[in-house]
């Protein structure tokens, strides 16, 4: 066990798995840290966020591959290589960039197994950065995972803790289907205890962050952290909140959520993405169908508004669901009295 940041946990996952499996490669823009130029072959920084720091030095240019800015070629190359013997990790620097390369992800990699009649899936991982919080504006701050989760054939991971990030990323690399691994930029500095060796966390198993009896709150990715904080505040008011971190959106562990609703009768979902066809809507809709008889209050969706992410820091702060908003909304449904 070592105390490390989520950023370090991600790097560590790649490092330990690349040591174990020579077929794992990493490709993307500046993942080595920049080839060419006047700097020579010295120490490389390992990506704009330093997430791949040290990997080039250890694994060399054949396995840590800097690419031109050509996301379709990067994703397609990873997909093609995954069909022919490798387990590539392809970095999509910001998830917002999916628009220039999504065909290779959703029409190619994600569909191989099905449309080729199960000859093979695409064992590749797309690591990508999501989320608002650093003032980067409308094209660098989005939480577009609902679009990924919508696609049959893709698996979608949204880790919250360093421990989960490492275990889920190793699982993603070993998985025989394409996985999009969404790293929230505001979580990189989160710290936690992480085992040194390789370990995996099964997909489709939610983590119950804290138990409670009055309201079930599902918090997606970073929102699980905020929900946890809200739960502490609410508990002081006598409202007992069960917080669930799904960890993966596709597959999604609805059983854990349904079990919780059976107990609490109340559901709130906190999702940083925009509301329409969001994962908050997805969870709410399943609950409305499968937990109908348990529900004792309207389902509450706490999401970003249906707007782009504004650059201004005050607007951005208002855009992202906050602890205060979660507290207020959960309080409301916990006070809800059925008219019947």
């Amino acid at each position: 066990m070592t105390k490390m940041t989520l950023r370090e946990a991600i790097t560590d996952a790649m490092r330990v798995e690349m040591r174990l499996d020579p077929n794992v490669i990493l490709l993307g823009e500046d993942v080595a840290g920049g080839r060419g130029g006047s700097g020579g072959e010295g120490e490389k920084s390992g990506g704009v966020m330093g997430l791949t720091a040290g990997l080039y030095t250890e694994f060399g240019a054949e396995r840590i591959i800097d690419t031109p800015i050509s996301e379709s070629a990067i994703m397609g190359a990873a997909a093609g290589a995954s069909l022919t013997g490798l387990r590539p990790i392809a970095e999509l620097m910001f998830a917002d960039f999916f628009g220039v390369c999504f065909d290779q992800i959703y029409n190619q990699a994600a569909k191989f197994r099905y449309m080729f009649g199960n000859q093979k899936g695409a064992p590749m991982v797309i690591r990508t950065m999501i989320g608002a919080g650093v003032g980067a504006g409308p094209q660098h701050s989005q939480a577009v995972y609902p679009i990924f989760a919508h696609i049959p054939g893709l698996k979608v991971v949204v880790p919250t803790t360093p421990y989960d990030a490492k275990g889920l990323l190793i699982q993603a690399i070993r998985d025989n289907d394409p996985v999009i691994f969404c790293e929230h930029k505001m979580l990189f500095a989160e710290e936690g205890e992480v085992p040194d060796e390789a370990y995996t966390i099964e997909f489709g198993k939610a983590r119950v962050v804290c138990e409670g009896n009055d309201v079930t709150v599902v918090g997606i990715g970073r929102m699980a952290l905020l929900a946890e904080k809200a739960a502490v505040i609410l508990s002081k008011e006598g409202i007992s909140v069960e917080v669930i971190d799904p960890r993966t959106l596709s597959p999604f562990d609805m059983d854990t959520v349904l079990d919780s609703i059976e107990k609490t009768g109340r559901l709130a979902v906190v999702d940083e993405s925009t509301p329409i066809c969001s994962y908050a809507s997805e969870i709410a809709s399943i609950a409305a169908s499968e937990a109908f008889s348990s529900l004792r209050a309207p389902i509450c969706k706490i999401t970003a508004p249906h707007t782009p992410v504004p650059a201004a820091p005050n607007l951005e702060a208002a855009y992202v669901p906050s602890v205060e908003r979660i507290v207020a909304e959960v309080r409301k449904i916990s006070n809800y009295k059925s008219k019947i």
Partner: protein, 322 residues
């Protein structure tokens, strides 16, 4: 020509197999019993054949919506193909892919592709795997003249040059992208100048001449296998039929089609050259012809009499486990 008699027989057999298969697809499609769209390869047989004769099962190709010819040249069984095109349970893709998604990974055929420009990045990936695994395999991307305008193709080319990957980009310039002529849709003098602009050797050949294609491909494959990076080959060969079966071809003069059928038939051109040099005899051609006719007939009949996939398969094979 460094081709043995066996090589020549093989080349002709492949071209003939493509021709007969596609002509049969055409008549069968017209009966209205085939699902989806069908895009025929007639007129372009020498390209797939000349290219794929240099490849083994460990070499990979990325194909297009017009993929039957590539499948056959890459060694797919016509029975398995027919079953898939008719979307039968025992088809190559269990009936889930159909004509535009046929794939046979065991033969290094990474799939027809219904997305124009979809497969070049995949072929580059196969080449990256070959380079990483040091297995000397090469990869080929087939690219229509129309597909040459898709950004993915250029990205794939540049990445291949940057990483010096063993991949060959084969343009199949059949004159048209759907209804649009290449003289309109390609801004440059030709496609080749664009590829060479990306920093790789780029050559142009007559795609109706098997020997021309086979020759330039030999060099390209050698270059790739010896680690010298990608090559681009443009093969010109007009298509005989519509973009898809049923296309009335208002955008095209009748004389053009007549002319190419009369003078640019890849099989006839091959035959003449080989007969002239007395490398094969007429009777051999006829022998092959009748074998192929039967083979294709058997395949179609098998497909027509085979069951569709069971409904239980609808939700299967989306993931290995979920």
């Amino acid at each position: 020509m460094q081709l043995s008699r066996d090589d020549l027989r093989e080349a002709y057999t492949t071209m003939k197999r493509i021709r007969v298969f596609e002509e049969r697809m055409r008549t069968e499609f017209q009966k209205g019993e085939m699902p989806g769209f069908v895009h025929l390869y007639c007129g372009q047989e020498a390209i797939a054949t000349g290219v794929c004769m240099h490849l083994s099962n460990t070499d990979n190709i990325g194909s297009t919506h017009r993929g039957h010819g590539h499948c056959i040249a890459k060694g797919c069984d016509v029975k398995d193909m027919a079953l898939e095109i008719y979307c039968r349970e025992d088809g190559l893709c269990k009936g889930k892919g159909g004509s535009m998604h046929i794939a046979d990974l065991s033969k290094g055929m990474l799939g027809a592709n219904a997305i124009v420009g979809g497969s070049p990045p995949l072929a580059v990936g196969a080449a990256l795997a070959a380079k990483t695994l040091k297995n000397k395999a090469v990869a080929v991307a087939f690219i229509g003249d129309g597909a040459s305008n898709q950004g993915t193709v250029f990205e794939a080319m540049n990445l291949a040059v940057v990483l010096k990957l063993p991949v060959i980009f084969v343009y199949e310039n059949n004159g048209y992208a759907e209804f649009t002529g290449i003289d309109y849709h390609c801004g440059a003098v030709d496609i080749t100048t664009r590829s060479s602009g990306f920093g790789m050797p780029a050559v142009k050949v007559d795609g109706t001449d098997f020997f021309a294609v086979h020759d330039v491909m030999r060099e390209a494959v050698e270059r790739a296998r010896s680690g010298d990076g990608p090559t681009s080959i443009e093969c010109e060969a007009l298509r005989w039929y519509g973009h898809y079966e049923g296309d009335p071809q208002a955008y095209r003069s009748k004389t053009e089609v007549k002319e190419i059928k009369a003078n640019k038939d890849p099989l006839e051109i091959f035959k003449q050259k080989v007969l002239e040099k007395e490398l094969m005899e007429n009777v051999e051609f006829e022998e092959i012809n009748s074998l192929i006719e039967k083979e294709v007939d058997d395949a179609i009949k098998l497909a027509l009499n085979s069951p569709l996939p069971p409904l239980s398969s609808l939700e299967e094979n989306v993931y290995e486990s979920y």
